[in-house]
């Protein structure tokens, strides 16, 4: 066994036995059965019983339990109640990341500009949040600042721009200039500025609000684990290119940067890649769950040419995968959209090291080309879930399991992240998975 495999086995052992006080022996058996099913799929083994059913939703629980995303985003007590009832009623083999429930009171207090939420910025009351792109990295030369000292750029340039309440942080001194006596007063004086103090005060208030919110979510996660339900992931990371093109630059500017500022982008991504690994590994260390969820965006078919993908997208993403794998973690990249022109890259990692969540790619073809090397998770399309009948879902799942589950290495999930889905269709998917997924 190689070094990464040994580390992974240690993480799997901790995942299986998380040291929580299970509610009953049955709850412990249910928890361990579910985790073992996922481990076996990741390791390309047939499970003793059946195909695992993996979650891929954000606000579907709110709709399914008869409330709205706005209600769960406004009140953590509603969120906790809804998620607990949903998870116990639907019976996925893991539960989706509750951290994605964006708290409206916190986003409002922060004057958070990356997102708009139901009832704000033209987003309908009964909808979910929307993400808004913007050139937060204003001038291309800031790529150089980011590459040189990412934390400083983040704290004094980026954060004050996208969090209105923290605009005063732009006046902070650079912490690495706090060297010996000559810089003592120069470093400390900015903390006396009214705009800095105002932002720090707000940050403390928002921190308290967030701690209280997260405390309730944390209690729920603990309770669900004690009752037999494992979380679907323990960490999160992004492809460095997506960090640049989703978050720091608008899509249009990022696409122009490929032509105009390619070297600067690559230098910035070289800086971001080890930070993505660090973020993911710290999270799985803390949570005890080795799964690192990685939603991928601009790598899908249609955004970049093959040459651009090879130059800009894949090298640092592969580095992030390798760093997480080296640490014993399991990257679960979500290949949202189609990756039909990218299949060859999906195979470039050690056998059993990554589990790919698939949306619009050809599952039958992927099983042939990639399925022997890594676990596939997917891919009941949103179109059927929306416009079809439960019988259509049943048929799709039966064929999907025929195509993709043979020999193990498969988990059943929706292809698209589910929000306003029809409950009877998701239930039909789960029922079909239980019916046809037996080994």
């Amino acid at each position: 066994m190689t070094d990464w495999q040994e580390k992974r086995q240690a993480r799997f052992a901790r995942w299986l036995d998380p040291g929580v006080p299970f509610s009953s022996p049955e709850s412990k058996a249910a928890y361990q059965g579910r985790v073992q099913r996922m481990i076996d799929a990741i390791e390309l083994k047939k499970t003793p019983d059946r195909v695992p059913i993996y979650p891929n939703y954000t606000y579907f629980p709110a709709y399914a339990m008869g409330t709205t995303p706005k209600a769960v985003m406004s009140d953590v007590a509603v969120a906790v109640d809804v998620w607990e009832r949903f998870i116990k009623e639907y019976g996925f083999d893991a539960f989706g990341i509750i951290g994605i429930v964006a708290p409206i009171p916190i986003m409002k207090a922060l004057d958070y500009k990356l997102y708009q939420w139901p009832g704000s910025g033209g987003v309908p009351e009964d909808s979910i949040y929307r993400y808004f792109e913007h050139d937060w990295l204003v001038e291309a030369k800031e790529y150089d600042d980011l590459a040189l000292d990412p934390s400083d750029w983040w704290m004094r340039q980026y954060v004050p721009r996208f969090c209105g309440a923290l605009s005063g942080l732009a006046h902070l001194p650079n912490v690495t200039e706090f060297i010996e006596l000559p810089n003592l007063t120069g470093f400390l004086a900015p903390f006396g500025l009214p705009e800095v103090q105002e932002s720090l005060k707000k940050l403390m208030e928002i921190g308290s609000m967030t701690l209280a919110w997260m405390g309730e979510i944390g209690k729920l996660i603990g309770k669900l684990m004690c009752d037999g339900y494992p979380p679907s992931a323990g960490g999160f990371a992004k492809a460095p290119f997506d960090t640049l093109s989703d978050t720091l630059r608008s899509f249009k500017t990022a696409m122009l940067d490929l032509r105009r500022n390619g070297d600067r982008m690559i230098a910035a991504m070289d800086t971001l890649a080890p930070l993505a690994i660090k973020m993911a590994v710290q999270a799985i260390d803390g949570s005890g769950n080795p799964i690192v969820f990685m939603p991928l965006h601009k790598g899908a078919d249609g955004f970049m040419s093959k040459a651009q993908f090879e130059k800009f997208y894949w090298p640092t993403l592969k580095r992030v995968f390798e760093g997480i794998i080296e640490a014993g973690g399991v990257p679960v990249p979500f290949a949202e959209g189609g990756y039909n022109q990218r299949m060859e890259y999906l195979n470039e990692l050690p056998k059993g090291s990554v589990a790919w969540m698939i949306d619009r790619s050809d599952m039958k073809e992927l099983k042939k080309t990639v399925g022997g090397n890594c676990c596939l998770i997917g891919n009941v399309p949103a179109s059927i879930l929306h416009a079809g009948t439960p019988a259509d879902v049943d048929r799709y799942v039966r064929e999907l399991i025929d195509d993709a589950a043979g020999g193990g290495g498969f988990m059943l999930a929706t292809g698209t992240v589910t929000d306003e889905g029809r409950p009877e269709m998701i239930k039909a998917m789960i029922e079909a998975g239980l019916k046809y997924g037996k080994y």
């Binding site: 122009l256 490929l258 032509r259 105009r260 651009q308 179109s383 929306h386």
Partner: protein
């Protein structure tokens, strides 16, 4: 002028801008310069079709066209005719959805292919689309949406076109990563596209 066309086609942005300034200062025919830009754009479209160019090149070509156009405009005496070219196309992201990337790429490609494209933007109300179909009279209506909540507004547009007696006069194309045969039937549209070239091929097939 071949140099202008080549600089556009080869994505040599700085050279293209310098050359444009130089030619205009030397008193060269501004219409000929603009035509050379257009020829460059046509070449960009060909390279996109061949898979050599991708989204970043289309966007940069658009930027160069706009920047060059701004330089050339003051030198042009009369109006430059756009004209309907090969036909009119109306595109919109439907109500409730604000995603614009795919729609705008599709619009650019159809323009490069010689169609007159009117882009209504995002989160466009059903009634607005229907009344624009009536007044603009396009041969193709492209309805775009990324979210699954776009499915029902797409269907509402087609239903309203039928009620208004406009459905037979226009082909309806659905665009977006999550549209497929199921949604085509659900909405009652004519064709769907997950990539920009499908639109152009379909349009060309209409004659």
């Amino acid at each position: 002028m071949e140099k202008i066309t080549a600089a556009m086609a080869d994505m040599l942005e700085d050279e293209l801008m310098d050359m444009t300034d130089k030619y205009l200062a030397e008193g060269k025919d501004p219409k000929a310069i603009l035509d050379a830009y257009q020829a460059g754009m046509t070449e960009v479209g060909k390279r996109y079709e061949a898979g050599e160019y991708f989204v970043s090149e289309l966007i940069l070509a658009g930027e160069m066209m706009n920047a060059g156009g701004e330089k050339i405009k003051p030198y042009l005496k009369g109006a430059v005719g756009g004209g309907p070219g090969k036909g009119r196309v109306l595109i919109a992201t439907v109500e409730g959805d604000i995603h614009d990337i795919g729609k705008n790429i599709a619009g650019t490609i159809m323009e490069l292919a010689g169609y007159e494209v009117k882009n209504l933007g995002e989160d466009v109300k059903v009634e607005t689309i229907v009344s624009e179909v009536k007044s603009f009279n396009p041969k193709l209506l492209g309805l775009s949406g990324l979210l699954t909540l776009a499915y029902d507004p797409m269907k509402a547009v087609v239903d309203r076109l039928k009620e208004a007696g406009l459905r037979d006069g226009v082909k309806v194309l659905l665009g977006g990563a999550q549209v497929d045969d199921h949604i085509l039937r659900y909405v009652g549209a004519d064709v769907y596209a997950n990539d920009a070239m499908t639109n152009v091929n379909y349009l060309n097939s209409l004659g």
